[in-house]
């Protein structure tokens, strides 16, 4: 029962949560902490670090808040899904309407009484969640799933979730013993999360770590469709925005279809097409020249 890595892309994650049965939610990439999307169910802060150096967990006090669903990380490759669940199963939903769906509602109630390490194990053991997660892995006919899951990658991704729960802002880091309380969410919970994220970015700035932030936001297509129904709405403008969002979804869907497709037969046919009409010699020659050039020996 292995888990393989998936791409950290908003289109992938949106489709992933939909496959869990969640509705009303999408993922948006955050390019600047100064421009966080206003309505958000939670933030996912992800960073890539080399196993050699480590993420340097600081000694933060963890709390034991019964309202917070927190899982300790047990499966490295499942960490994206784990952080996403951290947001979906905890968010106070003040950002908008969304439906957790049957699968996750059951999962949440089934695991709510378990200690945090068992919660983590439950993610690992959940066939539904694992199958949905693994379906986004690039098909590679030459490497078995087991082998790929076991491969010791030099670069490791770590995901941390930030989420408002009943007026309190928490940081959920599966490598810690529990949730970390960051502050009250009286005004804007995202400001609280943002300072924490910025502090981490500053700390990691010394160690060549790459990071990214995704926001879990209300589904934009649904939101625009609702707005269009309102009396006196600016139909023309909303319509254009709606079309843009639908185009974006279409593009995401196409990309996801490509991600799940095995292109090896295609590529073999392509090589045959390029070698077959007497062009193999020329192609080999050009490729060799290109390699020399790339090696900087021109």
């Amino acid at each position: 029962m292995s888990w393989t890595t998936i791409e950290s892309d908003p289109g992938v994650f949106t489709s992933l949560v939909q496959s869990f049965g969640v509705t009303g939610v999408e993922f948006e990439e955050v390019f600047s902490l100064d421009f966080l999307p206003a309505s958000s169910f939670g933030l996912i802060f992800l960073f890539k670090y080399s196993r050699a150096g480590n993420s340097g967990s600081e000694a933060d006090a963890v709390v034991d808040d019964p309202d917070v669903w927190f899982a300790k990380q047990t499966v490295q490759n499942a960490c994206a899904t784990q952080a996403i669940l951290g947001v979906l199963l905890n968010t106070d939903g003040s950002a908008g309407k969304f439906e957790l769906g049957e699968k996750l509602t059951d999962f949440k109630s089934f695991t709510s009484a378990l200690p945090s390490d068992m919660k983590g194990e439950s993610i690992g053991a959940s066939e539904d969640i694992r199958v949905a997660h693994n379906s986004f892995t690039r098909p590679d006919p030459f490497v078995s799933d087991e082998k790929r899951a076991a491969t010791d990658d030099d670069d490791v991704f770590h995901f941390i979730a930030y989420v408002p729960v009943n007026g309190k802002v928490y940081e959920l880091d599966g490598l810690k013993a529990g949730p970390v309380f960051l502050g009250g969410a009286e005004s804007n919970w995202q400001d609280v999360a943002k300072s924490r994220i910025q502090a981490r970015i500053t700390r990691y700035a010394e160690s060549e770590i790459k990071f990214n932030v995704l926001s879990v936001v209300p589904d934009k297509v649904l939101k625009l469709q609702e707005e269009l129904k309102v009396e006196g709405a600016d139909v023309a403008s909303l319509q254009v925005q709606l079309e843009d969002e639908q185009d974006k979804r279409k593009k995401w869907d196409e990309e996801n279809v490509r991600r799940k497709h095995n292109y090896v037969p295609f590529v073999i046919e392509l090589v045959k097409a390029l070698s077959g009409n007497g062009q193999a010699d020329e192609m080999l020659k050009r490729g060799a020249e290109k390699r020399k050039e790339k090696a900087g020996l021109s």
Binding site: L33, F142, N212, P265, L274, A280, E293
Partner: protein, 393 residues
């Protein structure tokens, strides 16, 4: 990492240090003009959408003097924010490495947009929009000349010849800066030369329409944040260097380089151009990759997409719903195809070579065996495909 050449790697290493040595006396300004930066985002079909960013800036070409830590003669192109004086864009330009050109915009009267591109690496481009009222071909030519002709640059920097003709050796210690991804916000400055609206509408690349630019040859795989300017960040550079068996920041002295290019011989510690060159030739003797041969430009060169039999066969192997010629073209540039080429390459360079051939109904003849014995699995595979294609005609 596509198309990175040695000089760019040296440039990258040196970009990370030497910021503190930009004292006024260590640089001669060659030319400058007011410009703003642009954001370039790839659209799905391989073209780029260029969006001008607000902010008054200055694009400057400078040449180092002998009192600079890099030694005399290094050309830098940098973009400076006129309000904050920060320099987010700063590149070392070696001769014949880069060019500066005006890109085509829909209307003649549009604010000019220029592109800095690198000859070896089509993924690396930076776009700037002109904030001067008078700007024409002469300005562009001047920049190109100064970037590519060291003699003219020297003349412009130092018309009286006050600099000594020998360049002082400088240290090339590589101390890469932290490669923090700029998720922290950049502050926008307001314009007063031309109003924002004027700019956005007059460029006629209005924030949401595209100026189509030649697509990059090899798209980057999407992983966390794709770097829109296509620049290689220092973290990636470190992994390249360690992959070549070079320390990222050498502590032992290296032999001095004796090359005619403006490389800096190292004094104590640091990697020289010649170190990199020999490491590169070692790397070159390694195994080849399918993606070196199977490129979009090769597809174009051979014109196979004009052959309907080929198009039909290839599209039939695409996922359902994407079996069109347009989709085929997008797919050929997709990260998924690059990924498949990489997987296949690993399999061909490994012990499973013969089972790969068997699996795809290809034959292992004498020539293929010989090539495999020489460690050329990829070439053997191409020959096997060639034979198969000939047979089925």
């Amino acid at each position: 990492m596509n198309g990175l050449n040695l000089q760019q790697m040296m440039a990258m290493m040196q970009q990370g240090q030497g910021d503190s040595s930009d004292a006024a006396s260590s640089l001669h300004e060659l030319c400058s003009f007011k410009a703003g930066r642009c954001q370039a985002s790839p659209l799905g079909d391989g073209s780029l959408k260029i969006t001008p960013m607000k902010g008054k800036g200055l694009l400057k070409l400078t040449r180092t003097t002998s009192s600079h830590s890099e030694g005399e003669g290094m050309i830098h192109l940098s973009w400076e924010d006129r309000k904050t004086k920060e320099t987010p864009d700063k590149f070392i330009i070696f001769p014949s490495e880069a060019k500066f050109e005006k890109i085509e915009t829909p209307n003649e009267e549009d604010t000019p947009v220029c592109m800095l591109s690198y000859n070896g690496n089509s993924d690396r481009r930076n776009f700037y929009w002109v904030q001067e009222l008078e700007f024409d071909k002469e300005n562009i030519n001047e920049i190109n000349t100064l970037m590519n002709d060291p003699a003219k640059a020297k003349k412009k920097a130092d018309p009286e010849g006050a600099e000594t003709s020998e360049s002082a050796p400088a240290s090339a210690t590589a101390s890469p800066t932290s490669g923090a991804n700029p998720t922290a916000g950049t502050s926008d400055t307001s314009m007063d030369v031309v109003s924002n609206n004027d700019i956005i509408s007059s460029v006629n690349l209005p924030a949401d329409t595209s100026a189509v630019v030649d697509p990059p040859a090899n798209p980057t795989t999407t992983t966390p944040a794709a770097n829109a300017s296509g620049a290689v960040d220092v973290q990636n550079l470190q992994s390249i260097l360690s992959g070549l068996g070079l320390p990222a920041a050498s502590s032992s002295p290296s032999p001095t380089a004796s090359l005619s290019t403006p490389a800096a011989p190292s004094k104590s510690g640091g990697i020289t151009l010649s170190d990199l060159q020999s490491a590169m030739s070692r790397a070159q003797e390694g195994e080849s990759k399918l993606s070196d041969y199977v490129t979009f430009s090769e597809v174009e060169r051979q014109g196979i997409l004009d052959d309907s039999t080929v198009v039909d066969k290839l599209t039939s192997l695409l996922p359902e719903g994407q079996r069109t010629k347009d989709s085929l073209i997008t797919t050929l540039r997709s990260p998924q195809v690059l990924s498949a080429l990489t997987s296949l390459t690993s399999a061909l360079n490994g012990p499973e070579f013969s089972s790969v051939l068997a699996n795809f109904d290809l034959e292992m003849g004498e020539e293929e065996q010989r090539l495999v014995a020489e460690g050329k699995g990829v070439e053997a595979f191409i020959r096997a495909c060639e034979k198969k294609a000939r047979e089925s005609k």
